[in-house]
C-alpha cells in the first residue's frame, strides 16, 4: 500500500482496523513494563520518592507539545495540500493533546507542592503550558462552533498554525527567563543529566505514552471518518425527503 493510498478514507479505515489491535496490545505491554520499572526505581537523592511523579509528568509534557506539532503538520496538510484526512487528523488530535496537557499540569502541581512548597506559580514554563491547554480548548470549541467540517477545518488550521509559536516558547522558556521550573535534563546538547536507573523508566514510560497517543489518535480519526459518513447520509436523507 502506497502512502498516497491513505488519502482514501476507506483504505485508511481498513488499515486502522488491522493495526489498531496490535498497537493497543503493544501499548499495554510497554505500559506494564514501564509501571514495573517505575515501582522498582530508586528514590532520587533530592526528590525522594516523588521522582515517581516525573515518570508521568515528563512524558505527558512531551506528548502535550507533540499533539500540537501533529495538529500543525495536519494544518499544513489542510491549507497547503488539501489532504482529505488532514483536518480529520487535526480534529482527532485536539482532545488527546488537551488530555495530556491536563495530566502534565495536574502531575506538575502535585509534584510542586512537596518540592517547591506551592501547587502553582505564574512562571514562564507553567504559564506557557497553561496557555497551551487553553489553546487546545479553543481549537476544540472552534471545531464545534462551525457546522461545516471543511470551513471549520480551515479556521482551526489557521488558529493551530498561529498557536504553534507557543511550542518553542514552552521548550525554551526555562532558558530565556528566570523560572522556578528546572531546565532541560533529558533532551540537551551534552546528553541526559539523569542517572540510568531513573532515565530508563522515564524513557519506557515516554514510549508507552507515545504509543497510547498514536493508538488513540488513529481510533479518534476512524471515529471522525464515520461521523462524516453519517453526516453525508443525513444530508442524503434530507434531500430524498418528500416535499423537497
Amino acid at each position: 500500500m502506497a502512502l498516497i493510498d491513505l488519502a482514501n478514507p476507506t483504505r485508511f479505515l481498513s488499515l486502522t482496523g488491522r493495526i489498531l489491535p496490535w498497537l493497543a496490545a503493544a501499548t499495554a505491554l510497554v505500559f506494564a513494563y514501564g509501571f514495573w520499572l517505575t515501582a522498582g526505581a530508586p528514590d532520587d537523592y533530592q526528590q525522594g520518592a516523588t521522582v515517581k511523579i516525573m515518570f508521568l509528568h515528563v512524558p505527558s509534557a512531551w506528548l502535550a507539545m507533540f499533539g500540537w506539532v501533529v495538529m500543525s503538520i495536519a494544518a499544513l496538510g489542510t491549507l497547503v495540500w488539501r489532504h482529505p484526512l488532514a483536518d480529520m487528523a487535526a480534529k482527532a488530535a485536539a482532545p488527546i493533546g488537551a488530555a495530556f496537557t491536563l495530566i502534565c499540569l495536574i502531575t506538575g502541581s502535585l509534584w510542586g507542592r512537596p518540592m517547591w512548597g506551592t501547587y502553582w506559580v505564574w512562571d514562564a514554563r507553567l504559564t506557557s503550558v497553561f496557555v497551551l491547554f487553553l489553546m487546545y480548548l479553543g481549537v476544540i470549541a472552534l471545531w464545534r462552533t462551525i457546522d461545516d467540517p471543511t470551513r471549520a477545518g480551515r479556521a482551526a488550521a489557521i488558529l493551530t498554525l498561529v498557536g504553534a509559536i507557543n511550542i518553542p516558547i514552552i521548550k525554551f522558556s526555562v532558558d530565556w527567563w528566570n523560572t522556578l521550573h528546572q531546565p532541560a535534563s533529558v533532551v540537551k546538547m551534552s546528553g541526559p543529566a539523569i542517572h540510568p536507573t531513573i532515565l530508563l523508566p522515564l524513557l519506557v514510560m515516554a514510549i508507552a505514552f507515545t504509543l497510547l497517543f498514536i493508538t488513540l489518535h488513529l481510533a479518534a480519526m476512524r471515529n471522525e471518518i464515520l461521523k462524516r459518513r453519517i453526516r453525508s447520509m443525513h444530508m442524503m436523507q434530507a434531500e430524498a425527503a418528500p416535499g423537497r
Binding site: T10, A39, D43, G48, A49, T50, K52, I53, L56, H57, S60, P95, I96, A99, L102, I103, I106, T107, L110, W111, R113, P114, L212, L216, A219, A220, R222, N223, L226, K227, R229, I230, S232, M233, M236, Q237
Partner: protein
C-alpha cells in the same frame, strides 16, 4: 514499596492520570460503538453512501468481475 512522606501526592498523581486516560479511552471507544450502530441503522433502512451505490451498480452491471 515505601513512598515516603509524600505518598499522598504520588498516589494522587497516578490516580488523576489513570482517571483522565480512562475517560479519554472510554469516550473514544463508546463513540465508536455508537457511530457504528448509527451507520448500521442507516444501512438497514437502505440509505447508503453515493460511492457505495455506484459500486453496487457496477457490480450489477458486471456480475463476473471480481471486486477490486
Amino acid at each position: 514499596m515505601d513512598l515516603g512522606p509524600h505518598a499522598t501526592f504520588i498516589i494522587a498523581a497516578y490516580a488523576a492520570s489513570v482517571f483522565i486516560l480512562a475517560l479519554l479511552i472510554g469516550w473514544i471507544a463508546i463513540e465508536n460503538r455508537s457511530l457504528k450502530r448509527t451507520l448500521a441503522d442507516f444501512e438497514a433502512r437502505g440509505i447508503t453512501r453515493r460511492s457505495d451505490e455506484r459500486k453496487s451498480t457496477l457490480h450489477k452491471a458486471e456480475p463476473h468481475q471480481s471486486p477490486a
